[in-house]
Symmetry: C2
Subunit: 412 residues, 2 copies
């Protein structure tokens, strides 16, 4: 991406920002007792769209995931229906429920059932309340509009505390193009797929195969670099619909338009990745781990993710404790570094920056200044490997009392 | 091990239980401000002993580890000196400090410096206070006796809350043999080496190479199956001294004596592994994860360790929440199971047992009974893979507020 000058800007509107997309939501009581939280949403393109997706690598895949993978096989889709409050996974009726959800949605919004992508998030092992889903689909499909992106972002939240909704605008082939996205995910998100659910819409014209390539490329350095805990969900889903209404010349190969599109998509995903990490369950801080001057890109990524995922580093960041020894220790057990004798570590935030370790040995440093830096809400751990020129960023958060509290009684 | 009938019993005395071992401890102020906690210990065999060790796989190795590896090369040693309060790792003088510690100890107890094994545990990156170490070695070496095993177990503790000290007795070749061990470790302990420090003594006569084999074999199913957090220390050390004073026929091959010796050693390590896991930082419960009927031993181990290490499973156990979906999810992302369609899950404790998942689908179960079972202090998660006949146990603990509290301000 290094040669492409970014030519995009962030705009309002989320998934309904691009031409030809509408959305609707409902509060239908999928989780017993829920009478106020939005728990179902539908996102629809006016016409058929090229589509691609990336899914959990967990061997246990929820019915929605297998359904969506199957419906994406022909490279087109028109609609996404998602529910929160129940993952519809590991229960006897999950596949039936996912099929019925797609059919109900298809009938309600007038599209082919094979063009409906399904997603679910919530507790595993409980049967999905199809009466609620039916009611929700009726309600949401009756409320489709250009105004509902933000409500969609709310409808897919579980333990999330902030909505994740962004959009970018760029020019391709002289035409104005928009890309919008919403996402949810704050626990059970890890490096295999940095989010539980993320839905992306664009009015750009992009051929299905290259759309998948773009999605993978943008996710690789963003969503796939988010780590909150070590767990990988059964339901992780990232899908994109590209309806082509911007009327740019269709992107079919890795030309300049492709590069600009991917640059904008990557920036969009990075924004979401940071928001996801910062909103990690119980988190009080965004921790960006940057590895510089690594031998290979793989090394940079592996070290960044290992440090960002270390429970001890995360706990120290929560306590604003400049315990860099744990960072070096994590570099050591990452399995990516043969030589750990020449590693520098530095902390950086809005309060300034401080070097704490040089050539793998502790530096005398001002503990008070370090604490001040680590008390900010966005912290960067910068690791210099002095062994090449590759860089990577991982997006994580601190480990707090609240993470434990939230996850000690998730089902209740 | 299946064919060997265990012929051992647990006895008192820890590392000084075997013939010819004495120990001494000191409180020498290695951690600034510490005036009451024991922080140095010496364990000595009257004569030279055959010796073997297993060490951290972290690429960052503390000076004590490299020193001990070097001194074990000839397969003999006579003495162990260990300090808590400072890991003597990642500082400019670490190697000098480890060398000097070995020399001071050798002179004080009258052994060859090459026969001294050194171990350190505590904070990384700070220079070891050699004045304190000098004082401590003088003090400890003047107090060598058969009574000090328990104090040694205390002297190596950091955030541990209970001492880990056990001994077993068995008959080999008509002779009574004892094996004693102490250990410490409650954070930063993971599957690569289930403890930060463990010292084992025996009066059995065992040749150096087969002693190493026995140590590896016993550790494989015990220490290496302990997981508290995902971190691996720079200082992990497990060493054994076998001085042969029991006068059994020296074990040089995998005969019945070897099998009996390994069975006793494994039982000793299992006892310690359970204690280590239960005393995991902030833990309120021991969680034993048992995988039955796995296809291969490797699969059983990998699944057991993945489930035991899942932050979400650990948090649920803390909250006594029978959230078995997270267990199935962890089985799925373990990377060890291709087929996850026929997995049973059951919880067991002193309160009884309850099946919660059959053929990977949720069972209706009595939530109240499940909660009661999960409120006990020792819980077993039993996973049946229905795909073979292999079993493994992993030893872990719950994830609690206190883990975060302890690790948010470890250095202060």
């Amino acid at each position: 991406m290094a040669n492409v000058q970014p030519k995009f800007e962030f705009v309002e509107g989320g998934v309904t920002a691009p031409l030809g997309f509408t959305a609707g939501t409902a509060c239908c009581g999928i989780k017993p007792g829920n009478k106020t939280k939005l728990d179902l949403c539908i996102i629809k393109s006016d016409g058929p769209a090229n589509a691609a997706g990336i899914f959990t690598k967990n061997a246990v895949k929820a019915a929605a995931v297998t359904k969506t993978i199957s419906n994406l096989k022909n490279g087109t889709a028109q609609c996404i229906v998602a529910n929160s409050g129940n993952a519809n996974c590991c229960n006897k009726f999950e596949h039936e429920a996912a099929d019925t959800t797609a059919e109900l949605c298809a009938n309600a919004v007038g599209v082919n059932p094979d063009d409906v992508l399904v997603a679910s998030t919530g507790v595993i092992g409980e049967v999905l309340n199809m009466d609620a889903v039916k009611k929700g689909i009726a309600q949401a499909s009756n409320a489709m509009s250009k105004e509902n992106s933000s409500d969609c972002a709310a409808a897919i939240m579980t333990t999330d505390t902030v909505k994740k909704e962004f959009a970018v605008q760029l020019e391709l082939d002289g035409k104005q193009v928009k890309i919008g996205a919403i996402a949810k995910g704050s626990g059970m998100i890890h490096i295999n797929m940095g989010t539980m659910l993320s839905f992306v819409t664009t009015d750009a014209a992009v051929a299905p195969e290259i759309l998948k390539t773009a999605l993978l490329q943008a996710a690789e350095e963003t969503y796939n670099m988010v780590t909150v805990d070590g767990d990988t969900s059964t339901n992780d889903t990232l899908v994109i619909l590209a309806n082509g209404l911007a009327q740019n010349k269709i992107i079919t190969e890795k030309n300049d338009d492709y590069k600009n599109f991917v640059a904008a998509l990557t920036a969009l995903f990075e924004k979401i990745a940071r928001t996801l990490a910062k909103d990690g369950e119980g988190a009080t801080k965004l921790i960006v781990t940057t590895v510089n001057n690594a031998k290979t890109a793989q090394q940079a990524k592996k070290i960044a993710k290992t440090v960002a995922g270390s429970s001890l580093v995360k706990s120290a960041m929560f306590g604003a404790d400049a315990n860099w020894g744990r960072i070096l220790c994590a570099v050591g057990y990452s399995g990516a570094a043969e030589d750990v004798s020449d590693v520098d570590v530095c902390f950086k935030s809005a309060s300034g920056s401080i070097a704490v370790c040089k050539k793998s040995k502790g530096l005398g440093f001002d503990e008070e200044k370090a604490t001040q830096i680590l008390q900010q809400s966005e912290i960067e751990i910068i690791i210099d490997m002095h062994s090449g020129d590759q860089t990577a960023h991982a997006y994580g958060c601190d480990l707090t009392y609240d993470y434990v509290k939230i996850n000690g009684s998730y089902r209740t």
